[in-house]
Symmetry: C2
């Protein structure tokens, strides 16, 4: 067993989240598709941002799917690294500082003459669902040159965010990282990110899954969209054998984990409150990856994922507020 410098390196969009509460009417009048992640241009981003300032529970904090996962991993006590593109502007510095503050390795050079640092405008409806409007800004600059081979080769898992598939250069970076990881003893993980993202890139994802991915994360909508089926169980049958491990999350139905012939049905944690589901999937991935990089069995890994997700669902914002390592120790009665 190699002695890994990092448990997980995440590659994703470096985004600052702007969250606020909104009702369904707010979404409807602005033609925003509820529950999805939609890409928007700078003008829409600016006008929506100014509207959001007046809404309740307005928060700005570092986000981005893979970056959230690595942050939650750090909170669990894992060793994380991140690759993603910010601009050399105030938001970009803030994103970097937050990541560094958590002890995460992050040295992707900032863009110097691109659009500004990306932001994701997140509207949280009363049902705790999040609807995301993403202005990618500097993220579009991420390409193969940003993949540091030393970082990939010294990470036990390279974790890729499906949203990167929305841009050819990022996708190239994706494939490069996966190839480097597999040149060593590393594993490659992918999260499908969003059912609409799967819809946009289904064939590419399927090809990637066959050739490059060891560990797949998907929620129920995403995995059903990937295989174009109506029933979760059908998707489950397809995904077996398509990758080494699949961790399929089902909200209040918990998660289902497959590895070859092994299969686990893991219940969701009891939730004390459901405030905002933003980042729940990211936190789940963090817990699961923490578990498997620390050689726990799949059931315990999934439970850590579920506990991390429940913490994030209990408050506004995608990143854990409580130290997850303590939370896991209390809940599972194990020292991690």
């Amino acid at each position: 067993m190699a002695d890994w410098q990092y448990d997980v390196v995440g590659i994703g969009n470096a985004i600052v989240d702007v969250l606020a509460r909104a009702d369904d009417e707010f979404l409807k009048t602005r033609g925003v598709p509820k529950g999805a992640m939609t890409l928007i241009d700078d003008q829409t981003a600016e006008s929506l941002y100014y509207e959001m300032i007046d809404l309740s529970n307005f928060i700005e904090q570092s986000g981005g799917s893979a970056a959230n996962t690595i942050s939650a991993l750090a909170s669990l006590g894992g060793k994380g690294a991140f690759i993603g593109k910010v601009r050399d502007d105030t938001l970009g510095d803030r994103f970097r500082d937050t990541i560094h503050y958590l002890g995460i390795e992050f040295s992707t050079p900032a863009a110097t003459d691109s659009a500004p640092t990306a932001r994701c405008l997140i509207l949280v409806t009363p049902d705790a669902q999040r609807t995301m409007q993403t202005y990618l800004g500097a993220c579009v600059e991420l390409g193969p040159d940003d993949i540091d081979p030393d970082l990939i080769i010294s990470s036990q898992v390279t974790y890729l965010e499906g949203y990167l598939f929305d841009r050819p250069a990022a996708k190239e970076a994706f494939i490069k990282a996966a190839t480097i990881a597999h040149g060593g003893d590393g594993k490659v993980a992918l999260t499908l990110s969003d059912a609409f993202c799967v819809e946009r890139h289904r064939d590419d994802f399927l090809k990637l899954l066959e050739g490059h991915i060891d560990i797949l994360f998907a929620n129920e909508d995403e995995i059903k969209s990937l295989y174009r089926v109506d029933e979760f169980d059908e998707a489950l049958q397809y995904v077996r054998g398509h990758c080494e491990i699949a961790a399929l999350t089902r909200s209040e139905k918990g998660s289902v984990i497959v590895r070859g012939d092994e299969l686990h049905v893991v219940d969701a944690e009891d939730l004390t409150s459901v405030v905002d589901t933003t980042g729940a999937g990211d936190a789940y991935a963090a817990g699961f990856l923490f578990g498997i990089t620390h050689h726990l069995d799949l059931f315990d890994a999934a439970r850590i994922g579920g506990i991390a997700a429940a913490e994030v669902i209990g408050h506004m914002g995608a990143r854990p507020e409580e130290p997850l390592d303590k939370l896991i120790e209390n809940k599972l009665r194990i020292k991690i």
Copy 2:
């Protein structure tokens, strides 16, 4: 493939159900353990029966776990037979007439000088849960001599109700039937019936499972009790390999089916109303057995089970009110 005279022969307690609505207080003041099946003597049965007449939604109808399953199977269009013991009294005749009316083969001779026909006093609380107090009456007379070898050998599946394990003679009948079935090409199925029943006979059930059972039905509490574990997933790992097929029901979480390396996670049906869960497990078993005796795949078999259970949950009483064959055709859009 043999041309079977019967799809399923059920062996169980021949019981008339007496149902009424009661609140939790009613159970509490009488020291009745909620959600369980408890055996009571004739005096308790009589006094409770007279108290129940004054409660709302009072119903008397033929019941018994395996008999319910065979009745639901008949409603699906399956060919069923039943073995169980009534007394030659009014309730016993009524039980027999109901079974015959459904086209089910039932020729176990009635007891002539035993206690009267059994009844199960079922209290349905506002949460739709059922609590059962069973007076076994004539059922205790069932023994190996009542097992008609011709009936067993001409049935594709011999289905055993776990409650029979509460009496040595019935258990002997159980083993005899399983042995005859396996002497031919038949399969043997068992339902664990009740977590308290499992508690009472755990070692016997485990031994039976290893030696005699091809198809196991259990709900979540029962399977966790059988393996003395806290988590559903742990029980799931144990049961794999312990029998050919296990169908594990989880109420609103649906069911999980295992057959060797094959595993299905099947969602519960949407319920229009939850009135009374009495007989839900029996109806599920009927649907599932109908499916596999008609060579449907495990997913479809489980869905038919779920649809049958949902029908029974929607009204008072353990037996379907709607013809299940029509219901399945409408819901699954297949002709069965």
